[in-house]
Structures are given as structure tokens and as C-alpha cells.
């Protein structure tokens, strides 16, 4: 064999490894959070959509739901917003939208303009609740089961595929 072919052969091997690596990095989006499998921290916060009532996270007990952390200052939140709006129209899984470190007026204007995908919008103006949930950047979305246990966490914008595969199907499969 021509020994000058060896570098090419080595590179072909490397390319195969890289190709497998890229395939697998599609599934690497799941960052293992220490909170998965633990009870979701409970909270009571002001409700953006109804100033007269506070939102108590315990009202969600007994149902599957998604907790989406968002803010009007967050660019990727805008990217995922239409995915969430479509998800609400599908009505398979309710979404609670934790409004993180935001201005109430801007948040209301955002929902009025772009549509409201949320069943409730608790306002976490100081970011205390987000700290309890270990949020380090919006958007993040948690899947919480009827017992109030965190089952799954998505970091980064929601996509229709992830929503179907990781959220809707998990909730449907388990119940």
C-alpha cells in the first residue's frame, strides 16, 4: 500500500468519529439538572394577568404542566414564543410562564402583541424563585408531574420537536 495514503485514511476515521459526535450532540441538549427527580420548589407570587390574586404553585398539583421561564428582554424567548402559542392551541399540556426579572407593563404588552401561551403568569421580579429552580438563563422550561416532581428540563428555546417528544409524549406516556 502507498504509505502516503495513511494520512488520508486517518482523516477519514476522524471524520467518521466527528460525524457520530455531531449526531449525538443533537441529544446532548438535555443538561442534567440536580433538580430532576426532586419536588419542584413551591412558590406564591403576584399574578401578571390578574392583579387581585396571587399565584400559588400548589394549584397545579394533580396535573402535568410545563413551567417556562421567560422575560421580554430575552431574545431566545421571542424565538420560542410562537412554538409555545401553538402548543397552547393544541391544548395537550398547560404552560405556566414564570416572568423573570421583567417590567410588568412590557410583559403585558408582549403577551397582548404576540399572543399568550400561558395558563398563568407568576411574576418573579427579583428572581428569587428562579434561583430556587437553578435557572441560569432564560428561556428554560421544566416538565412537572402531577405529584409536583420535576421530570425534565430544557435549556434554551423550545422547538416543536422537543415540545412533542420530551414534553407532550412524556406526560401522555406516564399518565
Amino acid at each position: 500500500m502507498n504509505r502516503f495514503l495513511l494520512p488520508l485514511a486517518a482523516f477519514v476515521l476522524l471524520a467518521i468519529v466527528l460525524a457520530i459526535g455531531i449526531r449525538q450532540s443533537n441529544t446532548k441538549g438535555i443538561v442534567v439538572s440536580p433538580l430532576i427527580g426532586r419536588a419542584a420548589p413551591e412558590f406564591v407570587l403576584p399574578n401578571l394577568l390578574d392583579a387581585t390574586k396571587r399565584f400559588d404553585s400548589r394549584v397545579m398539583k394533580g396535573r402535568w404542566y410545563a413551567l417556562n421561564v421567560w422575560g421580554t428582554w430575552c431574545i431566545e424567548c421571542r424565538v420560542e414564543h410562537e412554538v409555545l402559542v401553538a402548543a397552547r392551541q393544541e391544548a395537550k399540556l398547560p404552560i405556566v410562564g414564570l416572568n423573570w426579572k421583567d417590567e410588568d407593563t412590557e410583559a403585558r404588552a408582549w403577551l397582548a402583541q404576540l399572543g399568550n401561551p400561558y395558563e398563568a403568569v407568576p411574576v418573579d421580579a427579583e428572581g428569587r424563585v428562579a434561583i430556587d429552580y437553578g435557572v441560569y438563563g432564560a428561556p428554560e422550561t421544566f416538565l412537572i408531574d402531577p405529584r409536583g416532581v420535576i421530570v425534565y428540563k430544557r435549556i434554551g428555546p423550545m422547538t416543536p420537536e422537543i415540545w412533542q417528544r420530551e414534553f407532550v409524549q412524556r406526560a401522555a406516556g406516564a399518565s
Partner: protein, 651 residues
């Protein structure tokens, strides 16, 4: 308007790069010499369009245009001007554009340089560079357009990653990329030479100054990143064997091998096919380095923009460029024959050993960097490779290499006449050993072990490298820049070895909790914690600590470590308090607030640490000096001195 103009300029640049590649490669291949005239205008036009696009992006940042998604993600109305400009390359899209801009700068410099070379050869070089640029422009436009608009515009931006808000890190990517991209020139010369079938010594001579300049830029870029990590990450380390650090280090190691094997090829017509392969591999590793960070294949602290869709494009590009180059190599290299012989102890065989050791070193780094990926791909689970692997395996080829250089600087081309020159080698070796013994036993203290060996090797290399140049000066002979540069780089390697050994062996370190007014004793110094005060920056707030350092009751210095909380991204950064005293760094970083006025502090005394970076800077200076040697200038137009060309590409 400006973002659209920039976008349009990028599209035009893509078309012009395509023309540059087509005419540059097709004209010589088809023998249509009239087409050659189109290469230069396409090259110049591409550079102008790329510069226009870059200027548009800079302007969007300077003018706070938050209707541009990339600006909104990486800037903020409170961000100072210098960081708004640095923010241009603060994330994926902009750093790709920076890569393209730097490639255009190198290409223009090469275009002036090749005007003295045979026209077909020059056209091929520019054609290959055009092809590289085409790939990057296509990648940018297809997957990573920095000019995408946001509708409606964001009221304010998400701010630049606070890690990047630092002067050294503002400069680190441009310098690093200048080095990476510079290896594209060596690559283009190698491909052009193979296409031409013209593998005489001339191409090695044309390639050498460019490669030296690229290598020098890469050295500075790496050193700057390491220096930044030292004072900004707050851990007091300067090298972490992080995948991205390794990605820049591998092309450096192979590039170092390349500049040495180019010497043998140029002077003696030896190792021709090996030199070609190194030129291909150095650039391939640069491409791999650019992309490993970006594709999400390797997870590291640097990968702030990981995206598998980009990964597929990148892989296709790598397969075409590197696979194509290596296929060409497999076809052309067998035609090469070396006719020159050399004796065992000649300079040629030392350069051969140098290359073998450097390539082994690069391979160990490559293995460690890729191992997690390979184990993952093979389904063996997640594997993490850290300093426990890298430190010992890297030393194995490197310590012999230092000894090799100390001997090799006295060798001659062709003849193994080393025995006649053994006196300076042995004398400098003995003096080096004596210095190391005196340092270890008399000054630093502690038992002699590996540190003694590497200190002795370092001192030996410094002394041995200086023997010949000093001798020449004493005899009133002139020193060409190539010799000064080489000597400087070899002395710097010796200094580097001494500095790293000293830092690694004799650092005094303590993590301690102190209340206001309490004192810690570390390495003969007293550190008295004077408490913290709050500070207010333009886009951050935080606390500012005060630590009085004294020695034997005499005050030495006051250190001010800081902990900053960047408001928009809510991330906390440490700014270590560092003072350099008599060759050692006094380092204090502020840890956690433990309540009741107590803080955890990390205190370190690191001897000679600054000499680590100083040594790399000296190596780079040596590279620039050698690149600007008279020999290379006389071969081309006076305006294209490689040193100047290099400087032009950072501006």
C-alpha cells in the same frame, strides 16, 4: 440600512471569492493564461467587500442597533465603547466574520508577495485562499448570518458575556485567529506546489516567512489567553488543558515542527513530502480548532454557540478541504525524491528528531482532546481527560526535546561533526546543572526531583543557545536576523521551562477564611484582610476587597481583589488582586461571603509566573525577526516584508 448593506457586501464577497478560486485554480490547470488577469481584481474586490461587511457590523455595535439580533444578544446600552467593538467577535457569528476579515488581510499581503513569483503559481496560491474564504463565507451566510434583523427591535441588549469584558480578551481572538489563518497561507503554498508539481526548494523558501509570522501570532494569541485565564478566572492557574486551549495548542506544536522542517527543506531539499504533510496538518488543525468550538461536538467552557446544524456544514467543509488536500498529497508525494544524504549527528537528523518529538507531543494532546468524543461515539460512556493525563504524557516528549535543542544548536548541516563541538555543549550543561542545584538546594529549598532535572535542562538550553551568537559577536561577525530570531526563540524556550518548573513546584497556596483585621501567613508574607467595600461599575456592581501584604513587618503592597456582578446577565466574575514582587506574583482572589464580615480568600505566591508569558512573547519576537530576515525580503518586492504584512493584518 447598514446591516442590509453588510449582508449584501457579504454576498458579493462570496461571489468574488468564488471567482478568485475559479480563475486562480482553473486558469493554470486549463492553460488559459488570459484568465490569470482576473485573479487579482477578484481578490481585491473580495477583500473590499469583506471589509465593508465588517465595518457595517462594527457600526451596528457602536450605534447600539438592537434591531440586529446579533447586536442585541451581545451588547447593551451600558457597555463601554471598547467592549462594544470587541463584542463584534464576542460570539459565533462575529468571530466567523473576523476570521474571514483576517483571511482577507493575509490574502492581500500574499497577493503583493506573489507578484514576484511565477504567475501561474501565484494564481494557484490565491485560488486556494479564495476557496477557503468561499467556504467560510458560505458557512456564515447559510448558518450564521450576523446581520439578521429582529422585528420588533429589542429595547435593550443582553450584554456581552462578562468573561469577555476584559482588555486582554478583547485582543485574544484577533491574535489567535491571525495565527490560525496564517497557516492557511502555508497550506495554500503547499497545495499550489503540489498542483504545479513544482516541489523544489523554492516553495519552501517562499513559505517560510509566512509560516514564521503565523506561528508568532499564534504564540502571542495563546499566551494572551493564558494570561487572561490567570487573572480573570480567579483560580490562579494559567493552563487548564481545556479542549479549546488544546485546539489552539495543537496547530502551534505542528506549526513549530513545520518551521523547523521547512528549514531542512529550504536549505538541503530534505523531508519534502513530510514538510508538505505538516503544512496541511497545521492548517487542518487550525480549521478543526475553529470548528470544534463551534459545532457543539466537544463541550467546553468556551463553546458559547454550540449548534449541531452548523456541525454538519463544518464537517462537510472539513472533508472537502482536508480530505481533498490529503488525497492530492497521496497522489503527488510519491513522486518526490530526496537526493541529499546526511550523517547521524548532523543538523538534519536533529531536525528530524525535533519533528518526531513535536508530532508525538501534538498527538498526545490530540488523543487526550478527542478521547471523550471517541469514547462517546463508541458508546463507552462519558470520559473526562484532565491534567492527570496531559501533564505527564506531555512531559515525556518535551523534556528530551529541550535536551535535543541544547545539543542541536551546535550541529552542522550534512556532516556529523558534533564531537568537535562537544566542549560548549558539555560546559554549558555542567554550568546549567550547577545553577539548577544551587537554585533547588540553596534558594528554593526542598528535595531535588524532577524539578532539578527540568531546571537544569532549561538553564542548559539558555546557555548553550547563547554560545554561538556570542562567539560570532566577539569575532566581529554580523548576526543576521534569522540567527537572532532563532537564538531568541531557543533562549525563550529555556526560560519557559525554568519558569513553568518553578511555578509548578514552588507555588505557596492557601484557601482561608478571614474576618476583617485577621491575618494569614503564606510563604513568608503576611496577608491582612481589611474588609470589603461596595463598588459601582458602568454595567456591574460588586464588592472590592482590601488586603494589606507585609513581610517581616514591612508593608509591601495593598491588593484589591474584586467580585463583580454583571447586571444584565446576572453572572458573577472575580477579578484577582495581583502584584508582582521580585519575580514572584502575590495573588489574592475573593471567594464567598461567609457572613458576619468573614470571606473566603484564595492566596497564592507564584514565583516566576510572569516569565512564562514573557518567554512566549520572546519566542514570538524571535519568529517575527526570523520572518523579516533579509533573505526573504530580497526575494520579493520591498513593500511586502512579511513582518510588515503580519502587522498589517491586525489593524
Amino acid at each position: 440600512m447598514l446591516p442590509e448593506l453588510g449582508h449584501f457586501a457579504l454576498i458579493l464577497a462570496l461571489l468574488l471569492a468564488g471567482l478568485q478560486a475559479f480563475f486562480g485554480l482553473a486558469a493554470p490547470a486549463l492553460g488559459r493564461d488570459r484568465w490569470l488577469a482576473a485573479v487579482m481584481p477578484a481578490t481585491a474586490g473580495q477583500a473590499v467587500m469583506v471589509a465593508t461587511a465588517f465595518a457595517c457590523l462594527v457600526a451596528s455595535f457602536v450605534r447600539f442597533d438592537f434591531s440586529v439580533a446579533y447586536v442585541a444578544q451581545n451588547s447593551n446600552s451600558a457597555l463601554p465603547l471598547i467592549y462594544r467593538i470587541a463584542a463584534v467577535w464576542g460570539a459565533h457569528e462575529g468571530s466567523l466574520l473576523l476570521w474571514i476579515v483576517l483571511l482577507a488581510c493575509w490574502t492581500i499581503a500574499v497577493a503583493f508577495g506573489v507578484s514576484r513569483l511565477p504567475p501561474r503559481f501565484g494564481a494557484r496560491v490565491l485560488g486556494v485562499l479564495g476557496l477557503v474564504s468561499f467556504g467560510f463565507l458560505l458557512f456564515t451566510l447559510a448558518t450564521s448570518n450576523p446581520f439578521l434583523r429582529l422585528d420588533p427591535a429589542a429595547p435593550d441588549g443582553r450584554d456581552l458575556n462578562p468573561l469577555l469584558q476584559d482588555p486582554a480578551l478583547a485582543l485574544h481572538p484577533p491574535l489567535l485567529y491571525t495565527g490560525y489563518v496564517g497557516f492557511a497561507v502555508a497550506f495554500a503554498f503547499a497545495i499550489a506546489a503540489m498542483l504545479e508539481g513544482r516541489l523544489d526548494q523554492a516553495w519552501a523558501r517562499w513559505t517560510r516567512p509566512w509560516t514564521l509570522a503565523a506561528w508568532a501570532f499564534l504564540s502571542i494569541g495563546i499566551a494572551l489567553g493564558s494570561w487572561w485565564a490567570y487573572y480573570e478566572l480567579g483560580w490562579g492557574g494559567y493552563w487548564f488543558w481545556d479542549p479549546v486551549e488544546n485546539a489552539s495548542f495543537m496547530p502551534w506544536l505542528v506549526g513549530t515542527a513545520l518551521i523547523h522542517s521547512l528549514a531542512a527543506t529550504e536549505k538541503r531539499g530534505l523531508f519534502k513530502s513530510w514538510t508538505l504533510l505538516l503544512a496541511i496538518v497545521a492548517f487542518s488543525l487550525s480549521l478543526l480548532g475553529t470548528f470544534l468550538v463551534r459545532s457543539g461536538v466537544l463541550v467546553s467552557v468556551h463553546s458559547f454557540a454550540a449548534d449541531p446544524a452548523r456541525g454538519v456544514f463544518i464537517l462537510a467543509f472539513l472533508v472537502i478541504m482536508i480530505g481533498g488536500a490529503l488525497a492530492l498529497y497521496a497522489w503527488r508525494a510519491p513522486l518526490l525524491k530526496s537526493n541529499a544524504g546526511f550523517e547521524f549527528a548532523s543538523r538534519e537528523s536533529f531536525l528530524l528528531f525535533n519533528n518526531i518529538l513535536l508530532v508525538i507531543a501534538a498527538a498526545t494532546v490530540f488523543g487526550g482532546t478527542m478521547a471523550p468524543l471517541i469514547s462517546d461515539a463508541a458508546g463507552l460512556g462519558t470520559l473526562s481527560v484532565g491534567p492527570q493525563y496531559f501533564n505527564p504524557t506531555f512531559l515525556l516528549p518535551m523534556l528530551p526535546l529541550v535536551a535535543l535543542v541544547a545539543i542541536a544548536v551546535h550541529s552542522n548541516w550534512k556532516r556529523g561533526r558534533l564531537p568537535e563541538r562537544k566542549r560548549p555543549v558539555i560546559v554549558s550543561g555542567l554550568v546549567g546543572l550547577a545553577i539548577a542545584l544551587a537554585l533547588v538546594l540553596g534558594y528554593y529549598g526542598g528535595r531535588p526531583g524532577l524539578a532539578l532535572v527540568s531546571l537544569a535542562l532549561g538553564a542548559w538550553l539558555v546557555l548553550s543557545s547563547l554560545v554561538d551568537p556570542v562567539d560570532r559577536l566577539r569575532r566581529g561577525l554580523s548576526l543576521p536576523r534569522a540567527i537572532i530570531g532563532m537564538t531568541l526563540a531557543h533562549v525563550a524556550l529555556g526560560v519557559f521551562v525554568i519558569a513553568v518548573t518553578t511555578v509548578e513546584t514552588y507555588t505557596a497556596e492557601e484557601d482561608i477564611a478571614l474576618a476583617q483585621g485577621e491575618t494569614a501567613h503564606v510563604g513568608g508574607y503576611d496577608f491582612r484582610f481589611e474588609g470589603v467595600a461596595s463598588i459601582d461599575g458602568p454595567n456591574y456592581d460588586g464588592v472590592h476587597g482590601m488586603v494589606q501584604v507585609s513581610r517581616n513587618g514591612q508593608p509591601v503592597v495593598t491588593l484589591h481583589p474584586e467580585k463583580r456582578r454583571y447586571l444584565v446577565q446576572q453572572s458573577v466574575m472575580t477579578e484577582a488582586g495581583i502584584a508582582t514582587q521580585a519575580g514572584r506574583d502575590l495573588f489574592v482572589a475573593l471567594g464567598e461571603d461567609l457572613g458576619a464580615g468573614r470571606w473566603s480568600l484564595r492566596i497564592q505566591i507564584r514565583p516566576l509566573i510572569n516569565y512564562v508569558w514573557l518567554a512566549v512573547a520572546l519566542m514570538a519576537l524571535g519568529g517575527f525577526l526570523a520572518a523579516s530576515d533579509r533573505r526573504y525580503r530580497s526575494a520579493r518586492a520591498p513593500a511586502t516584508e512579511p513582518g510588515e504584512a503580519g502587522q498589517g493584518s491586525t489593524a
